[in-house]
Amino acid sequence: MLSRPKRAHSSRVVARLLQSLFVVWAAATAAFVLMRLAPGDPYTTRIDVPANERAQWSAQRGFDQPIPVQYVKWLRNLAVGDFGQSSYFKRPVLDVLRDVLPRTLLLMSLALTASVLLGMAIGAWQGTRVGTTGDSLLSTGSLLAYSVPEFWLGILLVQLFAQSLGWLPASGMVSTEYEYLPLSARIVDRLRHLVLPLTALTLLGTSLFARFQRSSMRDAWNEPFVQTARAKGLTERGVRWHAWRTALVPVVTMFGLMFPSLLGGAVFVESIFSWPGMGHTAVLAVNARDYNLAVAAVIVGSVMTVSGSLLADVLQRAVDPRTAA
């Protein structure tokens, strides 16, 4: 009796993983097709290269083969992490990703954590005080924050805190002297460089979570079990915890859905703050018509999104026993 739901559970996990894999594969394939649809062969040879040399050149790269053969080969390479060469960086795309991806993940994970914590705190506070002055002020605030595009916010932050006040660095991940500082100063330096991009990237997420948490908390706050908790003699804090614990469920779903929107935000924030991460690199790749890198960015984005929704699933199971069965 107990083992049966468990087996069902594990087969569901497998199904979910397969489904995610399918999504990534399909996105990658779409990217491949897009790349082939693009006007002009990305590997157009120079006008003055003789025909035989050109043929040899494209044979070397397998471009003389039929598209399905190329596709299979491309997919096989992809499976082992070979995204091809970056025409802009003149390096394997994988090497570039190795450099830039951790930087973006750092920014994104911090921004996500900060958005979640701040947003939930604000939203939960509001949710139990719907209609009060504090609530409407915060609601207006988060509506504003929700409406400010990251790139403009970034520009404002640079102008204000880096240029006018000179409190924080305007761009980059570390100072010029970074590598020659003692450990403690290096940590401070990293943090100082994180403040502005993180703020720019966090504000939108925070307001999003706050809005979401507010409404879910408001709903939970009107549920009968809140009354029960009070009747049990719980303190207001205890009662709020009861409500928050259930209000968490829809918010946790949001958590996974934030990944694509954060990555989108990172494109702009990284560009403004010269943060050499995935987003900034994607823009460079676009300006440079670096197809392999652009396609890799799409695939990485899709992997991130899919992992995000998997994570959301896991988290939702963790916080909501009703979905666990």
Binding site: V23, A31, I155, G264, V267, V286, G301, M304, V306
Partner: protein, 271 residues
């Protein structure tokens, strides 16, 4: 009408008036580079309340005209997105079964790539797009949410008594869908579309800021702002005023969407 609905609606009307009346409201031609005197970016003054951009063009006039382009792009592309999304969602929800499963997987795939990356990638492959291309691109990447919501609504409505009754009376499938089901999902559509407009304004501004959206000499708020981005150090006004325009337009649409959501309570059609 509730006050929550009134304010954003009034603001939206103001924006539409500005968009429609830009040629009459603007003190100067938006793309006119002065033919006399020095071409330079000057700070706000009586003659140019928002200052001038690096090519000596009046930023106020450009922002007013930019309203047209920014809002126009957003409205048109959201119209496309809503149409495509409704068709896709209605089809999926109405027919259900295998088709629904396939369409939903497709939607998963589409949703898996961050929209900004798709837009970047297409720009990478095709280069700067003309305005209709941009509208189409934004529209064709913006319908996923609509499709999902519409599908959910249609799915829920499909077995409701009045629908079953209509079918029982021998009404054709298309007609039932068109006359009996779709009218019930318009609150969902109105709310999603309004929020979609807000999002599209911001997104188009971002793309134009990166130089991938609206191409010169046409100017949307994002590209006006972009013209000043290389000189934020000394020419703050070129980035400030279009930025304020973007934020207020986006905020207006978001507030309107929120208010509409509460007024129309679209979630309840499915209940």
């Amino acid at each position: 009408m509730s006050r929550r609905l009134l304010w954003p609606l009034a603001a939206l009307v103001v924006f539409l008036i500005i968009a429609a009346g830009a040629p009459w409201l603007s003190p100067a031609a938006p793309n006119a580079i002065p033919t006399e005197g020095i071409i330079a970016s000057s700070p706000p003054s009586a003659a140019h309340p928002f200052g001038t951009d690096p090519s000596g063009r009046d930023v106020l006039s450009r922002v007013l005209h930019g309203t047209r382009i920014s809002l126009g792009i957003a409205l048109l592309s959201v119209a496309i997105a809503t149409t495509v999304g409704t068709l896709f969602g209605a089809l999926s929800g109405w027919i259900g079964g295998r088709l629904d499963a396939i369409l939903m997987r497709l939607l998963d795939v589409a949703l898996s790539v961050p929209r900004v990356l798709v837009l970047l990638c297409v720009s990478a492959l095709w280069g700067a797009l003309p305005l209709p291309g941009l509208v189409l691109l934004l529209g064709l990447t913006g319908w996923y949410d609509v499709a999902r919501l519409v599908r959910g609504d249609v799915f829920a409505l499909k077995d409701r008594e009045f629908v079953v009754a209509a079918r029982a009376m021998g009404t054709g499938e298309t007609r039932v869908l068109w006359r009996h089901v779709l009218p019930h999902i318009w609150p969902t559509l109105v709310v999603t579309a309004t929020l979609g407009i807000a999002h599209t304004i911001a997104l188009e501004a971002g793309l134009s800021f990166l130089g991938l959206g609206v191409q010169p000499p046409q100017a949307s708020w994002g590209s006006i702002l972009s013209d000043g981005s290389a000189m934020v150090s000394s020419r703050w006004w070129i980035t400030l005023f279009p930025g304020i325009a973007i934020v207020s337009a986006v905020m207006t649409c978001n507030a309107l969407g929120d208010a509409l959501r509460e007024t129309l309570a679209p979630g309840q059609v499915a209940a």
